[in-house]
Symmetry: C2
Subunit: 376 residues, 2 copies
């Protein structure tokens, strides 16, 4: 156990390791610290084998994209009953979970079933794209020890702690050898295949720049005047000028439904400053985000009558660690595949095979509904 850098006045960070060697980091809100941060918070007595990953990746020459193969994920924990949740604290008298402490505020640990793991291996950097180890890192972020709540019910102060954790992990993982890009996301809802209900998100430190970012880079470089440009900044300005699709506006952040939104509920949240990632946000920006973001999630859950929890994906697009860093402004893409109560948008031939999206609704309808749900 090493008790290290306080990342903000309000958060205590302490890190240690689980029985199989995986790193675990507590982010405690305030005194008295929930996790304790003491030795017993890292006292994982499970008889786990040393952690290893056999993930590999290959380059899809036809698409120009890396594809990862993580066969051990086939065996991952799938919708366990609530009393066997691996993300709950380890309660006295119960089976030990992934978190040795008997309570916590926010905790981050290395995924037991990672898609990417380990450092780049010497001798595999020969340019071969046939079959190489999928190095990088996958982490799990537990937002709360309360198994049954939702992100938007955490409260502003807890969301602020989560943002600290995201920023901490982004900075640290970006500095690891071989990491090209760090992505922070939450998948919520069994409709999108979530295998654990406990409120949690994920962090992927990819060994390559993801295809969606590669596309943004191409677009940012495809300026009509032959100049590179801050595409997210231009799009934000255009949305503010249009006005009709803005769903939330603060002094540091604006949320809007994109003019070419492809999902049934689809919002982009953009900072007013051109920052590359969450670690680059200043305190004011983090403070406002802690208010704006859960408010948007609240409106998602209110979007459809008689649907209490809307499945969603909330994905932070962060700039690559290396080349193109100044061209990819940080932004959140928040969307749902639910197109009506009990009806999902499926990706069939046109979307899955051709990449050509057809949306049954319009960005203006989505925006109107989200605007109507704003608190007075």
């Amino acid at each position: 156990m090493r008790d290290t850098r306080p990342r903000s006045a309000h958060v205590r960070r302490s890190s240690g390791h689980l029985a199989d060697g995986r790193e675990l980091i507590y982010f405690d809100d305030s005194e008295p610290y929930a996790s304790g941060g003491a030795q017993r918070s890292f006292d994982d007595r499970r008889p786990l084998e040393p952690h290893a990953s056999d993930s590999r990746m290959r380059f899809d020459e036809l698409a120009g994209e890396w594809v990862t193969f993580a066969t051990h994920r086939m065996d991952r924990t799938h919708l366990p009953p609530a009393d066997q949740c691996p993300l709950c604290p380890t309660r006295p008298g119960h089976q030990p979970t992934e978190i040795p402490a008997d309570d916590y505020d926010v905790v981050v640990f290395e995924n037991r079933f990672p898609s990417f793991a380990g450092d780049p291996i010497e001798g595999h950097s020969d340019g071969s794209t046939t079959d190489v180890p999928a190095h990088g890192r996958c982490e799990v972020v537990c937002f709360t020890s309360d198994h049954s709540t939702s992100f938007h019910e955490l409260g502003v102060s807890r969301v602020r702690t989560v943002i600290e954790a995201w920023a901490d992990r982004t900075a640290e993982l970006s500095a690891r050898p071989g990491v090209a890009q760090v992505s922070v996301f939450e998948n919520r809802g069994k409709e999108i295949g979530v295998t654990l209900h406990h409120p949690h998100g994920q962090i992927y430190a990819y060994p390559f720049v993801v295809p969606r970012t590669e596309a943004m880079l191409r677009q940012a470089r495809r300026d009509r005047r032959g100049e590179e440009h801050d595409l997210l900044g231009d799009l934000l300005a255009a949305e503010i000028a249009a006005g009709t699709r803005i769903v939330a506006r603060g002094s540091s952040w604006t949320a809007y439904v994109p003019v070419a939104a492809r999902w049934p509920v689809d919002v982009r949240v953009v900072p007013h400053r051109n920052v590359p990632d969450l670690a680059a946000l200043n305190d004011d920006e983090r403070d406002e985000l802690a208010v704006v973001y859960p408010e948007l999630l609240r409106r998602f859950d209110a979007f459809y009558p008689r649907v209490a929890k809307v499945p969603y994906i909330a994905a932070w697009h962060q700039a690559p660690v290396g080349e193109g860093r100044d061209l990819c402004r940080l932004h959140l893409h928040l969307f749902s595949i639910m197109r009506a109560p009990r009806k999902l948008k499926y990706l069939a031939g046109s979307e899955s095979a051709m990449g050509a999206w057809v949306n049954d609704t319009t960005p203006e309808r989505i925006a109107a509904r989200l605007q109507e749900l704003a608190r007075d």
Copy 2:
């Protein structure tokens, strides 16, 4: 009704129109012709409004892709009971369906709920990408009048007729003004959102080159020697040299699991000649395809124990009508989202938001299973 060009010695083609003006074309196998091809086969007495589409499309500047908005599709027919199937023939004493004839072999008609429809409109070709009509055409292909069968059970001769219909539609739609690319596909299974169970496929005549093809064109032009190349031909040669992932091999076609397959079951079927589309296939190639393709579909349905019908997407990638035509060899992408009995592969944060695929299995395992299922 106009009775026109016989496209092969075995198929009679007759076309006419439905009550709302949509085109309908019968492809009759052999005498006595099932649909009759006579006036009564086009006698649609439903009180339908003239057909119109309000589909629009907008360019997603961030992704560099067109997104289509087809709000009328929200109201499309959704899993009707079998006795109200709109793709069955119109049986005496029953409600009229989309097909006025009391029987048919293969029939193609314009989709009542199209994503793309109509010709390009003058004055909208000003380069504006903000909001333009989504012109083009969407057609439905009924493979058989038998409501309860599957494509792989049609029999070789019927599959041959379907291939004629696909080739006919590809040639005709490619010649329409404003059509950039024609895609032929079948979505099978409610797990991928299929709204009608009757065996049928679809044809989309897109007004743009689809994103997946744009990616292939980029890759085909990204040759190490700075030369454009026949990427599908190169990949086919590499797969034949590797040998391990070949699942079917004829004199005109080879089927293999791609080295970087991203779906739980994933096959590419490629002709040995560099042809741009189905219309360019010669008789020998069509004849062999009519055997190879249903055999692969049979193996898909046998892939998992205790799963009778595996959901799949079968998508024909055809070359663009214009630029890049010589760089995009015709091929079929046949894949399933089912990763185990009753378990689907979901596209969550990494796939849906980042475009970075993680597969729980390996191409070699998929290939081994499909090889094992080959008929002796």
